[in-house]
Symmetry: C2
Subunit: 210 residues, 2 copies
C-alpha cells in the first residue's frame, strides 16, 4: 500500500483498490499486501510427504511452535506437548519400524515420508478434566504449526495413521498419559504438490438451517 | 520493507533487519511486514464471548469460509459443512433454549454469547471411511476460520459444550449423519480480552524423546 493510500485508509477506513478490506475495524493490519499474503498462506499450504534434507534453523522451529502454542484451548489448560525430533538416528528408527511392518513395498513411501530434517509430535494430556477437548485443541495447535511453517516456506503434513502411534510411543518413550494428536514433518518440499481439486465452496455452505 | 532492502533480499535471500527471515526459501512472501503481521494474527486471536451488533459483510464471511475450506483433510474428502446463521430469529431461538436449560442465572451469559451478528456451525460427515479423522479436519478448518476472522478484525470462539449440540441439531434441522465440530460466532468484540497467561513455551517442548 502506497503512503498516500495508507493515509487515506487511516483517515476513512476505505481503500478502494484493496477490495475486501474496507472497514476501519481493528484488523491485524491495515496493509492490504499483508492481508493478501495471509490468505495466500491458507491457500498454498500443502500436504507434503517428501523433503529436501536442508536443515530448518532453530529460530524457525521456535517461531513455528510459538504459533502452535497460541492456539485456543479449553480453560487455557495448554495441555499439549511438542516433541521436536531432529536426531537422524531416532527418525531412522521410526522409518525402519514402519518399513518392517509395512513390508518391502512400503520402503520408498516411508523413506520419503521420513526424509524431513525435523518432525513435531503433538501430544495431548489425557489426565485432564476434558481430554477429548484437549486433544481437539492439540489439533488446532497443529494447524497453526502447519500454517506458520508454510508462511516460512516449509511443507508439512497432518499425519495421524500412516505412522502408527505405538511406533512413536515406544521409540520416543512417550508417557502413558499422552495421546498423540499427529506427527508432522517440517522441511523444504522435494517439490510443492499441486493444489488438489476443491469442491465449490458453495457446496459446503448451508445458510441459516437445513 | 524498503525497495532497496527488498532488492537486496531478492538478490541474496538475506535482509539483516528482518531477523527471522533470512533464507531464500519459497516463503509466502519476501516482505518482512507481511510475515510479522501473520504471526501477530496467531498471537492476537482471542476467545471472544460478547460482541457488538455491527454486521459482518458477506464478502468477509465468504473470505473467512474460504480459508476454512482450504484446511487439510483426509484424502481430500472435504467432509465438512458450514452452517452460516445470520437470521436473528434463529439465533434468538438458540439463545432462549440455552437459557431455558441453564436457568435464570445463565441469562446474561447466553445473551452475551449469542450477541454476534453471525455464527458458523462446523459439521463433519460421519458416514465416511474415517469419521474420526474427518471430525478432526473440521477442527482444523475451524482454526483457519478463527484466524481469518481475527485477521479481518473479528473475534470468535471455538465453542463445543457451552451451547449443547442437540440444541443446534434441532433448531437447524441438522441431518443425523453430521457431527457438530463447533459453533463459532464471528463479530466485532465488545472488547478484546487480555492475553491469558501462557506457560513458557519451553515447558511445552520435549527435544527428541522423553
Amino acid at each position: 500500500m502506497k503512503t498516500t493510500k495508507r493515509r487515506q485508509f487511516l483517515k476513512t477506513g476505505f481503500v478502494g483498490s484493496a477490495g475486501f478490506f474496507c472497514s476501519p475495524f481493528a484488523a491485524v493490519t491495515e496493509d492490504s499486501q499483508s492481508q493478501t499474503d495471509l490468505f495466500i498462506t491458507f491457500k498454498t499450504r500443502r500436504s507434503v510427504r517428501k523433503f529436501k534434507p536442508t536443515p530448518v534453523p532453530d529460530e524457525h522451529i521456535l517461531q513455528i511452535l510459538e504459533a502452535a502454542h497460541y492456539a485456543p484451548c479449553p480453560r487455557n489448560r495448554q495441555a499439549w506437548k511438542f516433541v521436536v525430533i531432529k536426531n537422524r538416528d531416532i527418525l531412522d528408527q521410526i522409518r525402519d519400524e514402519c518399513i518392517k511392518r509395512g513390508g518391502e513395498q512400503s520402503k520408498q513411501y516411508f523413506t520419503d515420508y521420513m526424509s524431513a530434517p525435523v518432525y513435531v509430535v503433538v501430544l495431548a494430556d489425557t489426565q485432564t478434566r476434558n481430554p477429548v477437548n484437549d486433544a481437539t485443541a492439540g489439533a488446532l495447535a497443529a494447524e497453526n504449526l502447519m500454517l506458520a511453517a508454510r508462511a516460512l516456506g516449509y511443507g508439512s503434513v497432518f499425519c495421524v495413521n500412516s505412522i502408527p502411534e505405538d511406533v512413536t510411543n515406544k521409540i520416543l518413550n512417550i508417557p502413558d498419559n499422552y495421546k498423540r494428536v499427529c506427527i508432522t514433518p517440517i522441511g523444504i518440499p522435494d517439490k510443492w504438490p499441486e493444489t488438489p481439486p476443491k469442491k465449490d465452496l458453495k457446496e459446503a455452505i448451508v445458510y441459516d438451517r437445513f
